[in-house]
Amino acid sequence: MTFPYKIHMLELTSSNFDSSVLASSSAVLVDFWAPWCGPCKMMGPIVEQLAGEMPDVVFGKVNVDDHGELAQRYNILSIPTFLVFKGGHVADQFSGVMPAEALKARIEKYL
């Protein structure tokens, strides 16, 4: 089940973030998460599901354990936090657990 989703999810790092997210012509959803965060684990499959359902949106995730500098750059103080990027800028930011439909509706506002 996970295979068709995985190919839509970018593993973001300091070296690919600007080129993959800021330079993207599509809307980008970035999921800031960590392996020790329970709510992040709840949202993981939901984000992957939407990545499979929303081909017009780029989906990426940042492991804050490995890439603390990206978390710092965007003032992340809570996980899971989701940032929506449009044209290189943060268009929206929100945190916490939510059902797939709610997350989808929030992203669709920027399409």
Binding site: A34, P39, I76, L77, G96
Partner: protein
């Protein structure tokens, strides 16, 4: 009309234990796990006090095991929220956004949710310094000064956990004593990074627009307002039961918890049983939730048998 013998609402330890017992009693339970499944254990990290896991277990992984075990015996799981119930008809009616289900008996195990302060600034700075999940967010407060609001066990646990990261943790307590159990109090008091502010209530959370910078405190002994600078606000003031669905349909106590009869899981409606934190503001443990889940399944099974 399809008819279920037993419907279980909720997918924490209570719901899944009820499902394991009901499934093994060949009641082929239908369990509504909700669109955000797993209950409060999903928000924890290490669970160290559940018997049978001597090395501890991660909360979300433990819930995955519960779920697998209830499926193994034939529990059918619906990944949707129940939006309405009707106990004035028999069989009982259970509705999701787009389907209706009928059941002879019902087990309510919808759990409880952490409460927020409901003060100005709390929503605005949610995810920007305001948190209800120390284990998720403590990491971002390395070397910072933070506060924990609350005087119970969960406040002590969070404060103690947060000292791993923070330079100092100030606990804001509404009364002049703690509600927390002795062992949790002692652990917190012995920690040199933890300070206490007594008789004080957070009235507002203030910030610079992007993150929290402080809180406005009201001293309820002297009636004086003051401001305390802080980088983070962790809220641990208790829980409220998830009983909105059952208001006016089941007897609830003044705090909203489902009232059950002594030494049983029977509610005010015959054929409806309640288990776990939704009916328990006292013990609130995974193991007690599982225990009452087991009781609810046995109570439902015997009640169904008595009607045949």
């Amino acid at each position: 009309m399809s008819m279920e013998k037993v419907i279980i609402i909720g997918s924490g330890p209570a719901g899944h234990t009820a499902a394991i017992y009901a499934a093994r009693a060949e009641l082929t339970p239908l369990l509504f796990e909700g669109r955000i499944p797993g209950g409060q254990l999903m928000l924890t990290t290490e669970v160290e006090n559940f018997p049978g896991f001597p090395g501890g277990a991660q909360g979300p992984e433990m819930m995955e095991l519960f779920r697998k075990q209830s499926q193994r015996f034939g529990t059918r799981i619906v990944a949707d929220d129940v939006v309405a119930v009707d106990f004035s008809v028999r069989p009982f009616l259970v509705k999701t956004a787009d389907a209706e289900y009928h059941a002879e008996s019902l087990i309510v195990s919808t759990g409880a949710t952490a409460m927020w302060l409901d003060v100005p600034g709390e929503k605005k700075y949610g995810g920007r310094g305001v948190s209800a999940c120390a284990t998720c967010d403590g990491f971002f407060f390395k070397g910072k000064k933070i506060i924990v609001v609350g005087g119970g066990d969960s406040a002590m646990e969070e404060a103690t956990f947060l000292t791993r990261f923070a330079e100092s943790v100030t606990v804001i307590v509404r009364r002049e004593e703690l509600r927390a159990s002795k062992i949790m109090q002692e652990r917190a008091r012995a920690n040199s990074k933890i300070l206490f502010v007594w008789n004080s209530e957070v009235k507002e959370i203030v910030g610079d627009g992007t993150r929290v910078t402080g809180v406005k405190l009201f001293d309820n002994k002297t009636n004086v307002m003051s401001e305390l600078a802080t980088d983070g606000v962790f809220v641990a003031i208790g829980h409220k039961p998830n009983t909105e669905l059952f208001a006016g349909k089941l007897e609830l106590d003044t705090k909203g918890y489902v009232v059950t009869q002594p030494h049983s899981t029977r509610t005010s409606v015959e054929g409806v049983f309640a288990a776990g934190d939704v009916a328990d503001h006292y013990y609130r443990q995974a193991i007690t939730a599982a225990g009452t889940g087991c009781m609810a399944a046995i109570d439902a099974e015997r009640w169904l048998a008595s009607r045949e």
